[in-house]
Symmetry: C7
Subunit: 97 residues, 7 copies
């Protein structure tokens, strides 16, 4: 069973971040804190090709924590894990502390 | 919890300006004065890429007070604050006193 | 409260011209004379950017009296005055006496 | 009241030709002879701009008698006269005796 | 009354060929033989303009017998004759004996 | 009556291959064997023109046996024979033994 | 009967991989393990042509195990085997162990 996916073109493989609904100490968090739809970039494609045949670099890189759009990407299951695929232009931004 | 977003491509992160409905002296303002749909640019992307792979600079810059279109952008909550994301071409203009 | 708007890209800020329904001497004008949908260009953007990153000049200039299309632009209120925003390609032509 | 319009970009101002339904001698003409939807070019724009910023010349010139498409253009009244605006690519051809 | 039309851009003026439903000897032809939707090119435009402002030659030439698409072109009456206008890319091919 | 068609641009004239429903020895073939929607290229156009005015060669050549899409092309009758026209980009591939 | 297909342009011929619903030892696998919609690349086209007439290489190569989109490609039967055709940009990525 396949365990690794290298996306084509400007596709980006994302592992979604599920916000905890309780703190590690067991205290329930208010609903708002889970609202951010984010994920971690696990793999990226080699980019779309421009008119002269060169690759346009993908707008995010492996390891980036990214803000995802409200519409769903393509769901992919590799091994036991669920991922989601987006085109790089669909990703809204990178998140930082 | 993420506190900072760097938008991708030509996206612009905006903090909306809520017009006061009373003056600081407590006098109610007439309805019209709250009509302008404006915001402050908090962060911008690195721009779309043109055919030769160069970045096209984003049409507004951080700190600009901008006039927003009538259609809603993508809402984003970072920390305790609400923001909205637009593509730079959706922003109608910059406001000045 | 903002008093001045600098439009983005190829947007044009227009102050609509309301045709008088009476002459200054108080004589009612026939209905047809108010039919022309025109306005005065108050501010223009810096233009769309072409493939090599240069600005394409906006098709009208500040002070031009222009013929507007039948569809409505985006309404904007600055200070006490009402304006309307169009893309330069929507403007039908410039009017001259 | 404005008397002259200089169209923007590739727009063309047309004065429609109304075919007489009687000859000057008062003889009624058969219905078919009025069928050609034609007009005279009164003013043209400076043309659309190509990728390098140059103007693409408008496909018809002032004074040309042109064949109009079946769909209506934008109606404009200047002074006492009615005109119609088309994009140059909508004009079907030039008519010659 | 106009007798000649010079089409604009890549338009092509066609005189339709009406297949005889009887031979010259008066023998009725079977239905199928009239099925080919063809015409003769009477006049062509100067061609669309490419990005560098050059004319792209029209894909057919005056005098060509052409195969027409199933959808109707724009009908034009010049003098006593009926014609039809198509864009050159709508014409399916040239017919030869 | 026309016997030969030279297609325009990137059009391709195809003679459809009708799979026999019996072998030459008279044995009925199972239904599946007739399923491939194929044809023989009889004539091709000179190709679409690129931005610099050069012809882009048609993706198939005369004599090729090709796999056709599930949607129907434009039917053409030349002399006694039925053909079908496709754009070269609609053809799925070339078939080989 | 044709046995080999060379796809046109950026088309890719895929042999779908049907996940076993039992292990070779006869143990039924849980439903999820069959969920990945994958296939093996059997043949590729020569690629789309760019503006200067050069071929843009196809994004996958013969022998690649690929992840397919949720929408169905064009089904093709060659000899006794079923295949499916996709455009290379529809393929989501390549799978690796």
């Amino acid at each position: 069973m396949a365990k690794r996916l290298i996306p084509t073109l400007n596709r980006v493989l994302i592992e979604k971040i599920v916000a905890p609904s309780k703190t590690t100490a067991g205290i329930l968090l208010p609903e708002n804190s889970a609202k951010l739809n984010s994920g971690k970039v696990v793999a990226i494609g080699s980019g779309l090709r421009d008119k002269s045949g060169n690759n346009i670099p993908v707008a995010v890189k492996e390891g980036d924590i990214v803000l995802l759009p409200n519409y769903e990407g393509t769901q992919v299951k590799l091994g036991e894990k669920e991922y989601v695929l987006y085109r790089d232009e669909d990703i809204l931004g990178t998140l930082h502390d």
